[in-house]
Amino acid sequence: MSSSIIEVENLTKRFGTFKAVDSISLEVKQGEIFGFLGANGAGKTTAMKMLSGLLSPTSGKAMVAGFDVFKQQNQIKKSIGYMSQRFSLYDDLTIKENIRFYGGIYGLKRKQWKEKGERLIKRLGLDEVEGKLLKDLPLGWKQKLAFSIAILHDPKIVFLDEPTGGVDPITRRQFWEMIYEAAHDGITVFVTTHYMDEAEYCDRISMMVDGRVEAYDTPEGLKKKYGVKTMNEVFIKVARP
């Protein structure tokens, strides 16, 4: 297929004596939707933070969008979008003000964020509430907005950390439509989730258990390997052997 955009080799993060991420290796190809699965506390968020330049790794090697996670963290930050577990837009700003702010600090020109902002407000059907403060919007809308803002600056990769937690099934479906659209536009999607139906939507998957990558394949391949019918069963087999 196409070339790889994330290459990870024996990446480790140690907090004191505790190995949060224990020598993981994986490869993400350009334009694919990569599912990053694991139980709570398996080390997903830590691994993701290292790849997005928020956390310095202890040892190993990793290249993200062609940049070294040890030395070129700021170049990485220019090439990626990131949406964290916690809602991280400003509740006391309006939709438009959030778009302007994040567009602005990613260095978009006034014309750029204006055009893109208008397009995404239309796309999300937020025309009528664009002047409202974010705290007055339902969570599902806010999550969709957060995702749209995370890819406002056309990053090469977008990291999504449990983007659909606490969101209703319909909004979840819409969210995944947006993810497909982004992937279609050439953005590589790196997503963590606890919903196994979502895992089925991914091109390839890795599963973390206690800081290590224990399974790493396409959803079909994993189901075949463990001789089960659903990703749910795969997860239970891998996470609790």
């Binding site: 916690r86 809602f87 991280s88 400003y90 700003l93 302007r100 602005g104 260095g107």
Partner: protein, 376 residues
């Protein structure tokens, strides 16, 4: 540069959208300045006296008149019983007891030494000290005037006693009427500007940590210096605005003289605010919650305020405490403001203050920037 402007725009939107911020910034300082300046009155009037006159003579009645005419004392009770006097002190009905011994006038006329007893309620040390001091002054006057007159009357036929009295005439420069407000208002204004600057800046970044937006900022390619400037500049402007309002209040309400250059005061405040904001910034990089930041900021501010020379003169502190005040930014600002506003000091006389505060500002902001990590 454009990125910094986007940050500043966002900060101002948030500051002015928060409904409690406007009163905190513009109403409270004015109220506090007015109320505190009137309340921080170091002159004590209406000290309550329990009067025990065992002499019942014209000499003792003259002392009574001197006491009540001074304006500092009022008579809370009279009597002859020590138990009653002690009870009055106990119940806080009297601040001091004055006891005139029987036969005082006779002894004075005979030029024999005479003592009278004053018992001061020293629960409040400042008040006790002042009561003692005022009473001593009244008694001193009384001594000079009345005792001499009494003895002159007696020896009228013979030689008058030649008395050589040294009179101390004090004149107070730069604050001739000893108006304590002239002294306090600039100092209180300094405290208010310091508190607003330190609290707002220390709360601000830590708040972004609490709600999680700091992570979203840290994952953008924004540079540390851009972020720090974007955070500090809005508060720097607000601090100067609060100072301007305070200076107007000082002029209009209290009629504080502005002997020196207002421009110099602004120039100094601009540097001083950088220091204070750097202090707040450093705190917010050291803490994870607004509560921690609040405690840490308070800890330092209380020390700074109490040891700033406004409530206790620095010269009156023990040596080690005076050394500590050398690290207290408020101390320099208070000295500077008084020098300039009351004494008219100029650049030549205040260069030292500028140097200290500028150096301090560079140090604190430098530490804050070093300590703020975009990558943990």
């Amino acid at each position: 540069m454009r990125i910094i402007l986007y940050l500043i725009q966002k900060e101002f939107l948030q500051i002015f959208r928060n409904k409690t911020n406007l009163p905190i910034l513009f109403v409270m300082p004015v109220l506090q300045l007015i109320v505190l300046s009137y309340a921080a009155d170091f002159e004590i009037k209406n000290l309550k006296v329990y009067w025990m006159d065992n002499d019942q003579s014209s000499a003792s009645r003259q002392l009574y008149r001197d006491l009540t005419a001074s304006g500092y004392f009022t008579i809370a009770g009279t009597g002859f019983d020590h138990a009653e006097a002690a009870a009055a002190l106990d119940k806080n009905e009297a601040d001091l007891v004055v006891e005139i011994p029987a036969g005082m006038e006779k002894k004075l006329v005979r030029k024999e030494p005479q003592q009278l007893q004053v018992i001061v309620n020293a629960i409040d040390g400042t008040k006790a000290g002042l009561a003692n001091y005022y009473f001593g002054r009244i008694l001193g006057d009384y001594n000079q005037r009345e005792v001499a007159a009494l003895q002159m009357r007696v020896v009228a036929s013979g030689q008058p006693i030649a008395r050589q009295v040294i009179n101390v005439e004090s004149s107070f420069w730069f604050n001739p009427e000893l108006n304590y407000k002239t002294f306090m208002v600039p100092g209180i204004l300094v405290l208010l500007v310091t508190m607003i600057g330190a609290f707002l800046s220390s709360m601000n970044i830590v708040r972004e940590k609490e709600i999680g937006t700091i992570e979203q900022i840290n994952v953008t390619p924004i540079q540390k210096y851009q972020f720090v400037i974007g955070k500090l500049l809005p508060f720097w402007l607000l601090g100067l605005m609060v100072l301007s309002i305070g200076l107007m209040v000082a002029k209009v309400v209290f009629n504080i003289p502005f002997v020196g250059s207002v421009g110099l005061i602004y120039a100094f405040s601009a540097v001083y605010l950088l220091l204070i904001l750097g202090f707040g910034l450093l705190i917010s990089t050291l803490t994870d919650t607004q509560q921690q930041a609040m405690f840490l900021a308070w800890f330092f501010l209380v020390v700074f305020i109490l040891m700033g020379g406004l409530f206790t003169a620095i010269e009156n502190m023990p040596g080690w405490a005076q050394t500590i005040t050398l690290f207290n930014p408020i101390r320099y600002f208070i000295e500077f403001v008084r020098l300039v506003m009351l004494k008219g000091a100029g650049w030549q006389e205040t260069r030292f203050f500028f140097a200290v505060i500028f150096g301090y500002a560079v140090l604190l902001n430098g530490l804050a920037i070093l300590n703020y990590k975009k990558t943990a």
